[in-house]
């Protein structure tokens, strides 16, 4: 009798039975039950269970299979021991020196980037923890070394490291063919970054049978990475029966300054918006104001304009915003003999906010840093433009906003912040109005301060001692910890890093 058979009997109960199956070789050691007594049957079952349990435990599970070639030797060096001692808890996501999990994730990403830049690899003893966290795969991969790559291959071959949305690549055709909607979209987004034409072809192949929400997501992914080769596909999208697809297609096309779509929208803009010369009056002369003025004619869309996204359901202001947003800022001088900045500053009876919003959107879509800087210099306060601004322009914006809105500005700055911006933000935080600054600016500051400044700021924050208020104390402690660990790691690796990378950029970037 096997243990499984015994367990089946035990599950039902010996009260339901009149006998037990023979115990085979064990019967020589076990007394036979008096089968007329239900209790004796239970005793006999327990006797057999004890014997078979020992037999079962005496046979540890095996793992049959063919030999696996061992890992090749590593040629890259390990980081200094101090860096390893800091990386260990970060990889294990232990709440060691850094309290917040998001801070740990950021510092770890930055540290792994520095290790990769230094031409080093993770020590073998950290590989287990590094590979156990699949969300880290992209940043861990460059520092795996030969041993880590071997281990990863083992995990994948054993089916213990299934393809994830983060690791899905264009070669993982199975994900696109058989994955869930979410996995397929992840595959598509990733594929658009490495093989945009191939990804688009894959989308075209499944377009007709795909439901509207999926088509919308696909077109939205195309919009983010739109290139001239996508124009025909996006033009077809303008005729899609799903409104979301049409909207995303218009968004994609408006990012292509040489597309027919942009030409059509520019023509409509020229018909709707004009800059006219006014006869200068006494008041103009007195105030030295311009005599040019903006004339906006409400645009009544025809069928072609509706197809391009200027729906009749929109208000005239919404149509104007959408129309202006589709015109690259650089085209305005040719269209209306005025720059985009002039359009928003021309004397008007009342500000045309829809115009300002539309031009801001067009500036962003075209990543037009020149226009962004001019707009901000002209007084436009659109936080979306911050990533395009020069350091001087960012500082100017920061000086114009109250401390309570500082977070709105710096929240959009790419990392690491320029040295001058980091210094200005730090001074605001430790200044007399620091308590008015949004708490998340402390977190941003801790991560976005350039590495070469991190140690200095950690030192300065330590010098503040214990300010009043538990929240401020916690913010100060967390920020100081992050800056300290960043500086410790960077200082250790600095001798191995290219000087240019230390001075100008740092890995990690914004998550």
């Amino acid at each position: 009798m096997t243990f499984a058979a015994l367990a089946s009997i035990a599950a039902v109960g010996t009260g339901q039975r009149s006998s037990l199956p023979p115990t085979g070789a064990l019967s020589a050691y076990l007394p036979g039950p008096d089968e007329s007594d239900p209790q004796a049957l239970a005793y006999a079952l327990l006797d057999s269970a004890a014997a078979l349990a020992v037999v079962r435990r005496a046979t540890p599970a095996t793992a049959p299979g063919d030999p696996v070639p061992p890992a090749p030797d590593d040629s890259l060096p390990e980081p200094p021991e101090h860096v390893v001692s800091l990386l260990g808890p970060l990889l294990a996501d232990d709440a060691g020196a850094i309290r917040l999990a998001s801070d740990r994730a950021y510092v770890l990403g930055e540290a792994l980037g520095l290790v990769a830049q230094a031409g080093m690899r993770l020590p073998h003893r950290l590989l287990g923890a590094a590979l156990a966290r699949r969300e880290l795969r992209a940043s861990v991969r460059p520092v795996l070394g030969a041993r880590g790559e071997w281990l990863l291959a083992q995990l994948q071959a054993a089916g213990l490291d299934g393809v994830t949305v983060a690791t899905a690549g264009p070669s993982d055709a199975d994900v696109w063919e058989r994955g869930t909607s979410e996995e397929r979209l992840a595959w598509f987004r990733h594929a658009r970054t490495v093989d945009p034409d191939g990804a688009r072809a894959a989308a075209v192949a499944v377009w007709k049978e795909s439901p509207a929400p999926f088509r919308t997501e696909l077109m939205s992914a195309v919009a983010v990475t739109a290139a001239p080769a996508d124009e025909a596909f996006c033009e077809v999208g303008l005729d899609d029966r799903a409104e979301g697809v049409r909207f995303a297609a218009a968004e994609a096309l408006s990012r292509l300054p040489d597309s027919a779509y942009v030409a059509r929208m520019a023509a409509r803009a020229r018909a709707s918006i004009a800059v006219v010369e006014l006869e200068p009056g006494a008041i103009h002369r007195l105030l030295k104001r311009t005599t040019r003025s903006l004339r906006v004619t409400p645009y009544e869309p025809d069928e072609a304009a509706v197809r391009d996204g200027l729906s009749r359901k929109l208000s005239s202001a919404e149509r104007l915003t959408r129309l202006v947003a589709a015109v690259p800022p650089s085209l305005w001088p040719a269209l209306v003999s005025a720059t985009a900045a002039e359009l928003v500053t021309l004397h008007q009876d009342e500000p045309r906010w829809e115009l300002v919003g539309g031009i801001g959107t067009a500036t962003l879509r075209n990543a037009d840093a020149t226009t962004a800087n001019v707009l901000v210099a002209a007084g436009v306060m659109d936080p979306r433009l911050v990533p395009l601004l020069s350091t001087e322009a960012v500082l100017a914006v920061m000086s114009r906003v109250p401390p309570t809105l500082l977070g709105t500005v710096v929240d959009r700055l790419p990392w690491p912040w320029p040295q001058a911006v980091a210094t200005a933000v730090g001074q605001q935080l430790v200044g007399p109005n620091g308590h008015q600054v949004r708490p998340d600016v402390w977190t941003l500051f801790a991560r976005a301060v350039p590495l070469r400044l991190a140690g200095g700021w950690a030192q300065r924050l330590r010098g503040l001692g214990q300010p009043d208020g538990r929240i401020v104390r916690n913010l100060l402690r967390d920020t100081t910890s992050v800056l300290t660990v960043r500086a410790l790691i960077a200082d250790e690796l600095r001798p191995f890093l290219p000087e240019t990378s230390w001075q100008d950029t740092q890995p990690g970037g914004r998550p």
Partner: protein, 438 residues
Amino acid sequence: MAERWRPERVTALAPDSASDVAGRRLAIPTPWSDIGYAHPLLWGACQGSGASPYSVVVDVSDPSYRCSCPSRKFPCKHVLALLYLWAEGRIDEGGTLSRFAASWSATRTAGGEEKPPKDEPAERTEAQLAASAARAEQREDRVTGGLAELDRWLVDQVTAGLAHTRPGAMGDLAARMVDAQVPGVAGRLRDLNRRPIGSRTGARAGGAWLDDTLAEYGLLHLLSRAWTRTDLPEALRATVRSHIGFTVPKETVLATAPVADTWAVVGMRDSDEEQVSTRRVWLYGTETSRYALVLFFAQRGMPLDASLVPGSGVTADLHFYPGGPALRALVGDTHDVHQRVRFQVDGSTVAEAVASWRRVLAEDPWLGSYPTVIRGSARLVPSPGLVDEVGDSVRLAGGATLALLALTGGHPATVFGELEARGFLPTTVLTDDGLVVL
């Protein structure tokens, strides 16, 4: 300068995981000032939530420690943080001895905090001996009654069918076993009670739960039957008594013949049971090739003994408890302590390890696992396993499989661990530099 601790030893010193986490959070230079080290004293000042920093001093040779913070944890997070900083090489020899450290050190030197000498067992009177014998007899009666109740309960369960097991039933019985002074059985029942009851439908109801429960019921029944037997060999009787929960006086164990050796710490596992924390430390005699199990107990929240951490070693006399196989031991006279111990050992093949496991199971069928060292190559494909030179394999179990793969890269390695029904649970790998903890 004395040998620096390894971070694992600091971790082992923490009274609980919360203290350890808090300690490691403070183990950065940020809050620290006036730190220094002059063997054996380590000191520093840690800025806490108070106006003035807490003064911390540690004697790393003892170890003993003192912190001016009001924490009831012992050692507190400040002590642990300072030790982590030192263990990670961030504190070098030097620094000006703080007044706090100097004062504490002077007090200790003057004998102010010296540990009281261990009490010699007082000679007992006739009356006390008689009372003690009566209590022992009374306990044996209670145990007999408790185990009889246990066996009746087991029979009832098997008669009615395990599919009808009531959630929490084993917990109730465990409480009665505590009353009957059968703590060993109570602990096994509590372990069983913690396992989620699987689906109770179908012929193979509950799957693994059913198999494991029936196996444990069988072993408890065997224990109960063994207690009633008067013809057991002395060693087996001692084994039965130890599983029931009878303790052997420390002085009795220490009176046994010592086994002197340099013992390498090859594994450690902590567990919490009710109000007691238990630390199980596996030792391997580098000369005698014997294994030993040393247990440490502490009230929950209090630190467990951290003198034996994996990778380290101790040259000491071990005294083994009665029973077979002789595994559990007490550390007697200690002659030397090694932060890292280097030795050579020919690891077993899988077949040899399994044969050893079977031999000890024959002596002690209730034993959960057995330490062993296997020479083999770890692999994951097609399933996690350790394969020896002749191609025999044992499944790798536990949480250290990935770490073993990473450390050995599939090359042959000498791996210490515990063998049990699930397979082999690796704990340490022997390298040229000594043991590496997984």
